[in-house]
Symmetry: C2
Subunit: 159 residues, 2 copies
DNA sequence: ATCAATCTTGATAGAAACAGTCAGGAATGA
DNA sequence: TCATTCCTGACTGTTTCTATCAAGATTGAT
């Protein structure tokens, strides 16, 4: 498993915009330069983010993009859904139970494993906000999964 | 994010072999039929699983594949690593810090977010064994991430 | 020895997803 | 009127994933 470039880029774009929250709109050109990502590609992602209602755009000479809501109220989950459609695609869920050509039919003790994983990942993404990222506290947000991570991390350190 | 077919197939193969643990080896042909996956593709996956030391093979008329260790001692993590190389590919880790053309350079408040996610996912995979899957208790294994999931699940149900 | 069953290996090919590019158009503000 | 900037959609190249194929090596049975 891995994070796609689109998600990576989109997260960086949103973080950059969060940093400018309250100021004048930022142009795609500037965002592209600061994130070192092709401007055309950036524009494509920005469109998706706008359509998802996460950012607002303004055309014209002083135009650009700005966050539609405060950083604390925008989660990573929302960003990922905006560009990728869903946070975690369930293999088993793709086919109706028994119908179509789902290959699991007789043997689905595995399905719950993927479902749990999906829940875990989704919960993590929903628990991280742009504000959390700005303050570099990726795990110290509201989500239960993140809370677990904090506990696990301190436990691993042995103290 | 999603689970790849290879991982899905490999997991099902290993589960099938776990069910036959202690009995005679199972041929690729039979595994293919029971899992409804092309036999050539199955063979390819089985080779990877063997090279990773998770299963053993025997050629000849009564040949086939068998688990190299008891189901309880083989984790999903090991299976995934065998076919995919790693459980979770870190976007940021791909480039040396500052060298190459990692695009994150100036702006890596995001990196910890992916790292935490990777840790979470990896820990989950390591906590699920083939024995757990056979007994359909995907979250009730030793791993801390899974333990968290159990708690979260019962909490969500409200009781 | 011979034969059939089975695994082994590497090459190859098709399909899908991903990443990135391009061009023409529409709105905005100076 | 004009430069700036966003808008839209089509397009292309690359990589990864999935699957197939063919020739060879090993084993056990006869």
């Amino acid at each position: 498993m891995r994070i796609t470039s689109s998600v990576e880029y989109a997260t960086r774009l949103m973080t950059a915009l969060a940093r400018e929250h309250g100021n004048a709109p930022v142009s795609a050109e500037r965002l592209s330069a600061s994130d070192n990502v092709p401007v055309d590609y950036v524009s494509q992602l920005l469109v998706k983010l706008r359509r998802a209602g996460l950012i607002e755009s303004r055309r014209g000479s002083a135009g650009g993009y700005a966050l539609a809501r405060p950083p604390a109220s925008i989660t990573l989950g929302a960003v990922v859904r905006a560009v990728d459609g869903e946070v975690f695609e369930d293999v088993c869920g793709k086919y109706q139970k028994g119908t179509k050509d789902c290959r699991h039919q007789g043997d689905c003790s595995i399905s719950p494993v993927w479902k749990k994983l999906g829940a875990l990942v989704t919960q993590y993404f929903e628990g991280v906000s742009l504000a959390d990222i700005l303050e570099e506290r990726p795990g110290r947000c509201g989500g239960a999964a993140a809370a677990f991570l904090e506990r696990a991390a301190s436990g691993e350190r042995g103290a």
